[in-house]
């Protein structure tokens, strides 16, 4: 099914006789859901764009590329840096903005500006019974009623089908530069990232892979130059500086997890405390790309190491299987949290038809 209006979509959900598999572009779907495919790509286009207020309202099926092009026309962007995981996951298709929000997919700049959910000002969605709901709005500050926008962001279509999202967007800064630090081992290289993030120099990216640590600053040209000098003096290692397009290319690689493409084995996405980041990887002897100063680890492991990983991460974060065979994809929740989650799913999708089985 491919409805082209919200009303059609609501009708399709209300009239569904069995499970539905909600699909934007299918470019970042995880888990094992089954059902008749309900595509959102027919709900496409920008509803409203006010560059002077940094707000964009867009239909959920709009391709990410289109959103980015519209924003770029006014020298603006989505601040949270949408990852393109097609290469990593071996998918084809057109990534949609609704899918990005449903997955709460956030790139390297999360350390500075927050996640996708932090940029979402409002949303419209259709719940599992076909009821149309709006929440939030298009203004920067809004505490009117409960924040269901946060609940929908990252819910992977299990509570409702997003039909429209409004975003707070960001002006593209005039300059960017990346300090590329070589000659440090993983523990020291990750400590350098934490030192950078703990400095007053407003770091907008802190990642490590292939034996190099990367620290990014963005802003006005003079300010970028100043902060590069300050950080260089503090961080140690052999530092070279990449600027402009060269810097941007380094961060596309991190954002899209390019170094992990085509590696044999399973790929895990671990969210943890930055100080635990070196140890977890050392313990499991996997190959890693660290982002968010170590708070995010993309780890390649041989099949069957899931239990070891869960033990290594226990009490200091959680791990999701993004590529591999079988096994639970999302980590189990504590029973009292699981009870709340089950309660919400039963309320928003009483027939249990939306992406059944996706999040466990």
């Amino acid at each position: 099914m491919r409805p082209v209006t919200e009303a059609e979509l609501a009708e399709a959900v209300a009239g569904a006789s069995g499970p539905l598999l909600v699909r934007g572009g299918g470019t970042r779907t995880l888990g094992h859901a089954v059902g008749e495919v309900l595509e959102t790509g027919g709900l496409s286009g920008v509803e409203l764009y006010e560059p002077g207020a940094l707000t964009l309202v867009v239909r959920a099926g709009t391709p990410v590329a289109e959103v980015e092009a519209v924003l770029a026309g006014e020298r603006q962007r989505l601040a949270f840096e949408v990852p393109d995981l097609r290469g990593l996951l071996g998918r084809e298709g057109v990534s949609t903005i609704g899918g990005v929000v449903a997955a709460n997919a956030s790139g390297p700049r999360r350390v500075q500006v927050g996640a996708a959910r932090d940029a979402c000002l409002g949303a419209r969605f259709v719940d599992g019974a076909g009821m149309v709901v709006k929440n939030g709005g298009r203004v920067m500050k809004n505490v009117t009623g409960y924040d269901l926008v946060k609940l929908m962001a990252g819910s992977r279509g299990t509570l409702g089908v997003l039909t429209e999202v409004s975003f707070k967007v960001q002006a593209i800064p005039e300059a960017e530069a990346t300090l590329v630090i070589e000659g440090l081992g993983d523990a020291a290289g990750l400590a350098a990232l934490r030192a950078a993030l703990g400095s007053p120099f407003d770091v907008s990216g802190a990642a490590r892979h292939s034996g190099r640590s990367l620290v990014r600053v963005e802003g006005m040209a003079g300010s970028v130059a100043y902060r590069v000098t300050q950080l260089r003096a503090r961080l140690g290692g052999d530092v070279t500086v990449a600027e402009g397009a060269e810097s941007a290319a380094l961060w596309r690689e991190v954002r899209d997890v390019v170094p992990m493409r085509d590696k044999p084995g399973e790929i895990w996405r671990i969210v943890t405390l930055p100080t635990a980041a070196a140890e977890i990887v050392a313990q499991l002897e996997g190959e890693a790309l660290w982002d968010w100063g170590g708070g995010l680890i993309w780890l390649v492991l041989p099949h069957g190491k899931g239990a070891d990983l869960a033990a290594a991460v226990a009490g200091r974060g959680h791990a999701t299987l993004v590529k591999g065979q079988g096994g639970p994809v999302f980590p189990p929740e504590a029973p009292e949290v699981a009870a709340l989650v089950a309660g919400l799913k039963a309320k928003f999708d009483p027939r249990g038809i939306l992406n059944r089985g996706m999040m466990g």
Binding site: T55, M131, N135, N142, Y146, V271, P274, T275, L344, F348
Partner: protein, 477 residues
């Protein structure tokens, strides 16, 4: 303000309920003497008062859990309370309710600079969170004007903002995790110091739920390294339109000041008379603050000056030293006090798209004449969060009602132009009956379902946020 009839059964069982509370709490943690309960009869929305059945001040999560469990068993409504600075009546009791105050839970449990978070008990005041980490060069970003008094618990419940949230976001953007006790006494941990949830973002919906989903007892908060310095400029204009256009241009240029504050003429005049900050007598005034090193500040201010001068301001004043910076902020910070000197006031906080600013200010002026009440505007212009202060006299019969009717018109106007009823103060009881202006029945139904899951008996802060008519069936059940 209509409130539900207190439950006669609960009132009749007061002695038994208080007895059970005393059995699970230390003696000094249960208050039931009428004269001592007066402290809890209202929050900062002082027009409405009602003493509770009892108040409790637990010291641990376990005590909170025991209290909630027994109130759940007894069918007693519970109203969580931080410092009682809510401007929306969020912490106002009903006669049959127990006030659960977390003020005694105020310890710092951990400060982790390497991972940039602080773990605190929820009764800790906002400013003292920064106080606990500033020696190491860090701060907690959300800074409501009430930060000396208000508690993190209330900030989380209201998703509070502050002058600097243009750059740093509001509470929800700086909250990593909570320990929450639900009405039946279950203790849950949502999120954690690493920030991102593995599954559904329950933390995201708890933040801003106005104490209706559970009692927050601990929080993990993101802390940030303090910038090297900050400096404000003051720009005066002879029209609101032009000031609004200037704000828009600054934002569009990609400069991200930490604050852009706006004051209109009535407010400028009132604060000048009161605080003598030396503000120009003009139609509209902006205070714009930028952060960074000396060089970075100069770079940003040069750009702002260029943009502002293109709008032909009547004044552009850069702070040359700490003292001048203080004077620029002085008037803004005294604005509420200054208006309070003139008369009683009601403070609204609807948000509008920045582009509608001139239209909305003009309409507020017209309404002011229609209702015969003065109004001053001072607000966070960068994010469109208005703070119209309506002056009235509480001793003049009918004035409060007139003021509320005027306020309701302004809030409807905010929604009409694409904004919302409240940007940071919350709905509470104050805006409860206006919810239908912004939301359809289905929109509210979806929100109330969340409460159904966390609090199936609707005992936690039950008469807030949703119009009484909309929640009636649930509260009765």
């Amino acid at each position: 303000m209509q409130m539900p009839e207190p439950d006669a059964g609960v009132l009749a069982r007061k002695a038994r309920i208080v007895g059970r509370l005393r059995a699970v709490l230390p003696a000094d943690a249960v208050i039931d003497a009428p004269e001592e309960l007066r402290v809890y009869e209202c929050d900062a929305l002082t027009a409405y008062r009602c003493p509770p059945l009892a108040a409790v001040l637990p010291r641990t999560t376990e005590e909170v859990s025991a209290v909630l469990r027994l109130c759940w068993e007894e069918g007693v409504p519970v109203v969580p309370r931080g410092s009682g600075t809510s401007l929306a009546g969020g912490a106002m009791p009903t006669a049959d309710s127990v006030i659960l105050g977390v003020a005694r839970m105020n310890r710092v449990l951990a400060a982790d600079y390497d991972n940039r978070f602080v773990h605190v008990e929820a009764g800790r005041t906002n400013l003292s969170v920064t106080g606990a980490v500033e020696a190491e060069g860090f701060f907690y970003a959300p800074d409501p004007s009430s930060q000396l008094a208000c508690a993190i618990a209330g900030n989380i419940a209201m998703n509070s903002g502050g002058a600097h949230c243009l750059k740093y976001g509001v509470t929800t953007n700086n909250l990593l995790g909570v320990r929450l006790v639900t009405m039946d006494g279950t203790v849950v941990t949502l999120g954690g110091p690493w920030g991102e949830p593995a599954g559904l973002d329950l933390l995201g919906v708890v933040c801003g739920s106005e104490g209706q989903l559970g009692v927050v007892t601990e929080a993990w908060l993101r802390i940030l390294p303090k910038p090297e310095g900050a400096r404000p400029v003051l720009v005066g204009f002879d029209s609101n339109e032009v000031a609004g256009a200037c704000v828009s241009d600054i934002i569009k240029a990609g400069i991200l000041p930490v604050a852009i504050e706006f004051m209109d003429r009535p407010c400028i005049r009132a604060t000048e008379a009161f605080a003598k900050a030396g503000y120009p007598d003009c139609e509209a005034l902006l205070i714009i603050e930028v952060e960074g090193s000396e060089a970075e500040i100069s770079e940003q201010l040069a750009r702002i000056r260029q943009i502002a001068l293109a709008h032909d301001p009547v004044e552009f004043r850069e702070a040359e030293d700490e003292d001048q910076a203080k004077r620029i902020w002085l008037g803004r910070k005294s604005a509420f006090g200054a208006m309070g000197q003139i008369n009683d006031y009601m403070c609204l906080d609807g948000t509008i798209p920045v582009s509608s600013l001139p239209h909305v200010l003009k309409r507020i002026g017209e309404l002011s004449r229609e209702f015969g009440l003065d109004v001053g505007n001072v607000f966070h212009a960068g994010d469109g969060n208005m703070h119209p202060l309506i002056l009235f006299n509480a001793n003049t019969p009918g004035d409060l009602e007139k003021c509320e009717a005027f306020g309701a018109e302004i809030l409807k106007l905010c929604v009409e132009v694409g904004g919302c009823l409240t940007g940071e103060h919350g709905v509470g009881i104050e805006k409860r009956d206006l919810m239908a202006v912004q939301f359809s029945a289905a929109d509210m139904e979806a929100q109330m379902r969340v409460k159904d899951v966390f609090d199936p008996k609707w005992l936690l802060n039950p008469a807030k946020v949703f119009p009484l008519g909309a929640s009636a069936g649930r509260r009765a059940g």
